[in-house]
């Protein structure tokens, strides 16, 4: 006979209808004979019945198949893309070559930015005025005219409609003549036996010979240097002639400022001056300009080139402003020993223009000039400088001083905004 323990193990299986024929027989027989097991079996049966009864009301009685089948969705097809996506989601570590690249992107990005910055910095030219660029067009060539550059010293022929790629040097022969149309509505007539070097559309150096200039108003002053001095123009017509020991400047229209190392003057229309390196005082004398104009008329621009040049320059909108800043300082007729300049500091820029300081009396008669080197502006530790007055007695007796500052673009194009100009007496 089976033990009570063995039989009790069969209770659930029997009640669940899962017992085999032999087990069923053993249990039924044992329960009839053993009162204890009979009681336990009845109790288990009651619990099972209690469970069935309790769950009975919640039982699924209907067939779910019709309603499920009625709204069966589209089956997802195992196409390649889906599979790839699933695989990537399941195995994120198994990425391709680009996956690794993506992982390192946060590192690459800043490195790339720094590298680009370095490339940009390296390729940024500090001497922008010396950069090769198109400054205008040759409007007339007659006789022997040649062009050369520092990079290509070989002298080349010049023809109308050639573009002027600066820096470039032009030379005219005994019978040569040349008209240069420079951007900013300027025309330079170059007479025979002249040599000039064009730096850009607003700056050239006349080394020898003579030129007749008609300068349009531009966003920068126009500057001509000669071996003897410097001519600064804001828009005017004038002639420049380099003689053996001096330069003659004659103004037809408007006004130009002529200077050398020591002094400066402003010429009005119909005035002429001779400037030599040692000249201390620039005297202006009245002259007739008709001869000069007549000489300029001997050179007439090539029609086709002139048309092309003016058509091209028409589209360029010109912004007019003057780089010159003028300050008026009251001195109450006392002697002045120094001039203080203060400006707004820019902490990052480095290619500053140097400044020329021009001091005139209350009748705008020139008194003296000084130069402030660009290094003063590049030094970011201070935002002011002092310019010594060569002869304090020279400035005594003036109630006011006109102090104008003008950038000198040879060292850089960055202009400095001056905030205050003051003077001190000894």
């Amino acid at each position: 006979m089976a033990s009570c323990g063995q039989v009790k193990n069969l209770f659930t299986v029997y009640l669940d209808g899962e017992a085999g024929g032999a087990d069923r027989l053993i249990l039924e027989q044992h329960v009839q004979e053993c009162a204890e097991c009979r009681s336990a079996f009845e109790s288990t049966r009651a619990t099972a019945a209690f469970l069935y009864e309790t769950f009975y009301p919640d039982r699924l009685r209907k067939d779910l198949a019709p309603q499920v089948m009625a709204h069966l969705p589209e089956m997802d097809l195992p196409h390649a893309l889906n599979h790839a996506l699933t695989q990537r989601a399941k195995h994120p570590e198994e990425q391709g070559a680009f996956g690794h690249l993506r992982t390192w992107l946060p590192v690459f990005a800043p490195v790339l930015v720094v590298a680009l910055g370095l490339v940009l910095w390296a390729s940024w030219s500090v001497n922008q005025p010396a950069q090769e660029r198109n400054a205008g067009m040759v409007l007339l060539q007659q006789g022997v005219v040649s062009a050369s550059t520092d990079a290509k010293p070989l002298r080349l022929g010049v023809h109308p409609s050639d573009s002027i790629t600066t820096p470039v040097r032009y030379e005219t022969g005994h019978d040569g003549g040349l008209i240069l149309g420079l951007d900013g509505d300027s025309e330079i007539r170059v007479f025979p036996d002249a040599r000039l070097k064009v730096y850009n559309a607003r700056e050239f150096r006349l080394e020898s010979g003579s030129v007749h200039c008609s300068i349009g108003k531009g966003e920068r002053y126009f500057r001509i240097s000669t071996p003897d001095g410097l001519i600064t123009v804001f828009g005017t017509v004038f002639g420049v002639e380099v003689l053996s020991d001096s330069t003659r400047v004659t103004v037809v229209k408007g006004a130009v400022q002529v200077e050398n190392e020591n002094t400066f003057t402003v010429l009005e229309a119909g005035e002429q001056t001779l400037v030599a390196p040692e000249t201390k005082v620039l005297a202006a004398k009245k002259v007739s300009v008709s001869e000069l104009v007549a000489r300029a008329e001997t050179l007439r621009p090539d029609t086709a080139a002139s048309l092309a040049f003016h058509r091209k320059s028409q589209g360029q909108a010109r912004k007019l402003f003057r780089a010159e800043q003028v300050f008026v300082v009251e001195t109450k007729r006392e002697p002045v020993s120094a001039i203080h300049l203060e400006w707004k500091l820019d902490p990052f820029l480095t290619s500053h223009a140097g400044y020329d300081v021009y001091v005139s009396d209350n009748n705008m008669r020139p008194l003296f000039k000084a130069h402030v080197d660009s290094s003063v502006f590049i030094d970011k530790s201070s935002s002011n400088c002092t310019v010594a007055v060569p002869d304090p007695a020279l400035l005594a007796g003036n109630s006011v001083l006109h102090i104008s500052v003008l950038p000198d673009y040879t060292t850089g194009l960055i202009e400095t905004p001056f905030t205050e100009v003051a003077v001190t007496s000894p």
Binding site: A48, Q67, M69
Partner: protein, 197 residues
């Protein structure tokens, strides 16, 4: 596993949607009981069951082992139920669960309203006792006593072997009796009326 599962799954994948009907018929009781076990008291068992079957059909091609359709379907059902609870958590938390449906048989009525209420209370206590069972025991108990599934059917759905189910149910019933005795709840003496197959 059911011998016909794999065959019907292949038919489904080949485009014969009707073959899925056979799978629904075979597993709907288990799926419904599982859903009921999680969301039954909120009346959502049927909705969750439907969603589970739809999801199973949609993703049928991602089933790798066609012989383990049952456990795979059980996983889907569990997730669908969990999703349902998550989606309705705000509402569910504020609502009093729907009282379990009690059908009062004629015998119950003869016993009088007091007796019927006493039975209802005890049944509620039985549900609490089932909730106190270990996780692994609960689903087989619900599948067995709610839908009267055979050990074979339960095993096919849970992924256990029939012998494991047999042991689980034996121990579960013993523990339930222990819990009920501990709480001094006597089984209501129902007449033996186990529904036949």
């Amino acid at each position: 596993m059911h011998p016909e599962d794999a065959e019907q799954i292949i038919q489904c994948l080949a485009g014969d949607a009707e073959a899925f009907g056979a799978l629904i018929k075979r597993y709907q009781a288990a799926v419904y009981a599982t859903a009921f076990y999680y969301v039954g008291r909120y009346g959502a068992a049927e909705d969750v069951s439907q969603e589970a079957f739809w999801s199973a059909y949609r993703n049928l091609c991602s089933l790798k082992d066609h012989n383990r359709f049952g456990p795979w379907l059980r996983g889907i059902t569990t997730r669908k139920a969990a999703n349902w609870l998550r989606r309705h958590i705000a509402r569910v938390q504020q609502e009093t669960p729907v009282p379990r449906r009690w059908t009062l048989s004629i015998e119950d009525a003869r016993r009088g309203p007091d007796e019927a209420l006493r039975i209802a209370e005890r049944q509620e206590q039985l549900h609490e006792a089932i909730d106190a069972l270990p996780d692994r025991y609960r689903l087989p108990v619900v599948l067995r006593y709610m839908q009267e599934l055979s050990y074979e059917e339960i095993a096919r759905f849970t992924g256990d072997t029939p012998d494991e189910i047999r042991a689980i149910l034996h121990r579960a019933l013993g523990q339930l009796r222990g819990i009920l005795a501990q709480r001094n709840i006597s089984e209501v003496d129902f007449p033996w009326r186990r529904a036949g197959k």
